[in-house]
Subunit: 122 residues, 2 copies
DNA sequence: CAGTTATATGAGTAAATATTCATATGTTTG
DNA sequence: CAAACATATGAATATTTACTCATATAACTG
C-alpha cells in the first residue's frame, strides 16, 4: 500500500512537490468563494465600466450624464449600469424621470486605487 | 451664438447636468490609463487565474504542481501563467527542467484582499 | 389623456477568450 | 546522442460578452 501520489486526473505530468500541493490545497478557500471573487474582478475588467466607476467616484450622475461623458449610447450605458448594480458596486435613486447612480461601497475606490498602484509601478 | 450643449454625438438623450459632466471630464485620467487599468482587472477576472494567484500567494509552485492542485491540464495552466506573467502579476525562475512561479508584486495580495472584503460585506 | 423625455431591456451580432489538442522547445540522464 | 520529462505555444473551437437596434416602461407636462 504505497503512498499514492496526488496527481490529478487531468494533469498530464507528475506532481513534483506533493507536500506543497497538499498544504496549499488545505489552505485554499472554497472553489465557490474564488469563483465569486473572479466574478467581482470581471466587472472591473472592462474599460467602459471602469470609466463609469471612476466618474461616479467623482460625482453622482444620471444615465444621460454618463452617456454624454463617455460618448456612448444611453442603451450601452444602461446595460453596463445593470451589471455594476448586480455586482453591488453602484446604487441608484430615482428623482422623477431621472435615475442617479453612485458608488455603493467604499471598497470600489480602494480596489481601483490598488489597481492603479500596480500599473504605475509596473 | 448660443452656448451649445456638450451632448455627445452617440448619446441619444439630452445632457441633464452640463456642469457635472464637464467637471468630471476635466478630472478624468487619460482614456489609455483607464484602459490599462481595466486590462489589469481583466486578468483577475477569471477563476482559474484567481486560483493560481491565490495558490502562489501561499507558496511558490511549479507548473505541474499548479495543474495538479487545480486538476487541470498542464497546457491550460501554462497558457494562463503566460497571461499572468504578461500582466506582471507573476514571475518565474528556472531550475533545471522545472519552472517555478511566484507572485511578482505585493499589490496582487492587496487587490485580492480588497476584492474579498467586498464580497464578504455584500 | 396624449406627447415627450429618461431609462430599461430583449434579441441579435461581432469580437474576445479559455480550453483542448497536437506539437515544439529546453533540460537532464543514460 | 537518444530517451524522458517539464514546460511552452499555435491553431481550432466553444463560450462569453459588449454593443446595437428596436421597443418597453415610467414619470412628467400640457
Amino acid at each position: 500500500m504505497a503512498n499514492k501520489p496526488v496527481t490529478a486526473d487531468r494533469c498530464d505530468c507528475e506532481v513534483i512537490h506533493d507536500d506543497v500541493v497538499n498544504e496549499v490545497r488545505r489552505k485554499m478557500p472554497k472553489e465557490e468563494t474564488l469563483y465569486d471573487l473572479a466574478e467581482t474582478f470581471k466587472v472591473f475588467g472592462d474599460s467602459t465600466r471602469i470609466r463609469i466607476l471612476w466618474a461616479l467616484d467623482e460625482s453622482e450622475m444620471c444615465v444621460c450624464d454618463i452617456a454624454s461623458l463617455l460618448n456612448m449610447t444611453q442603451s450601452a450605458i444602461s446595460h453596463q449600469l445593470r451589471v455594476l448594480k448586480q455586482a453591488k458596486l453602484v446604487k441608484n435613486r430615482r428623482e422623477g424621470k431621472v435615475v442617479y447612480y453612485s458608488l455603493d461601497d467604499e471598497h470600489v475606490r480602494l480596489i481601483i486605487d490598488q489597481g492603479m498602484a500596480h500599473i504605475n509601478e509596473g
